[in-house]
Amino acid sequence: MRMRTIEISVGLFIAAGIGALFLLALEVSGLSLRPQESTYKVYAEFTDIGGLRVRAKVSVAGVTIGRVSKIGLDNRSVKALVEMQIRSDIDFITRDSIARVTTAGLLGEKYVDISIGGDFDVLGEGDYFESSQGALNLEKLISDFATSNL
């Protein structure tokens, strides 16, 4: 009987430990047990991405529709090339949409916001945004202002 209670409590302990790991994985790190949602990739070139990082969110009207999956430098145009994974059910990003690197709040994280245009043609896998707007560089703005280059 005594061995039984010991075994039960050990079983509970192991279950609690593994449960805690699952909790950390699902709740804290936001790992999804569901298979990866199907996504498609679109690309945008920016003159300046500021502090944009991989895994940053991509949103339309503030609603998250995907995330930044890769950031590189385009050798020819010497611009930042940002690869974004967009959820497959978002199939209305028109070809004339504008991708813009924005900041959440004044000092918050950088993310990509997309303004949908009015074209009939939509972006598919591997397509590029035709127009983009890089991060607003506050320091550059101030120095331009100070030297009245505006």
Partner: protein, 259 residues
Amino acid sequence: MLDFLQRLGRNNLARLSALGRAGIFFFQALMHVPSVQSIPLFVKQLYAIGVLSLIIIVVSGLFIGMVLGLQGYYILVAYGSEQAVGQMIALTLVRELGPVVTALLFAGRAGSALTAEIGLMKATEQLSSLEMMGVDPLKHVIAPRLLAGFVAMPLLACIFSAVGVWGGMMVSVDWLGVYDGSFWGNMQAAVDFRQDIVNGVIKSLVFGVVCTWIAVFQGYDLVPTSEGISNATTKTVVYSSLSVLGLDFVLTAVMFGDL
């Protein structure tokens, strides 16, 4: 002068040979690991090492999480970014405080008990009588304890972190009024499963190996007197704590830095 040099040499030789004995002991004990008969022994040790440490782990996890929530809130609210308190709590706990504080408590709670238990077995010559009966003490006394320590420590660290995050949430969301959507949202955006949680578990596994190894070896290798037992117990706690803190720096540098 020569006497001093001789003493220095003797002390260091003794230390080196103890280190060597510890290594040989560790591998000999681990050679015996897998067998069906040893499962009840293992379960019993897991009870003594893991289940009985639960209370101290859960209580300290809860309070450390709550203090983190409180301190983080007061610092961050000055910059108007108190929503980031969730990510601060989670990253601090999962990367550092979870494994390290659990290991320190583990060394104090379970390590000292292991040393004293095995030390008393040695002092009362239970170990030698086992050997006389043809039972290998490494297999029946040491190996289950080592294994139980390896298993218990990561589980305890996970429980510590989870309880800590919950405690932090309780303070910052329920009491101080941080919006819970951004609390969890910021946390999930900042914490990466592979990078943060898996590395934290690896850390706690390493600490578990080191702490149990030190505890069991100190018990096995002590001078079989009452003074020897008390010395060995002290050494267990001191050595475990120091090696956990030192190893933590090395592991952090390797995992999160660009060394």
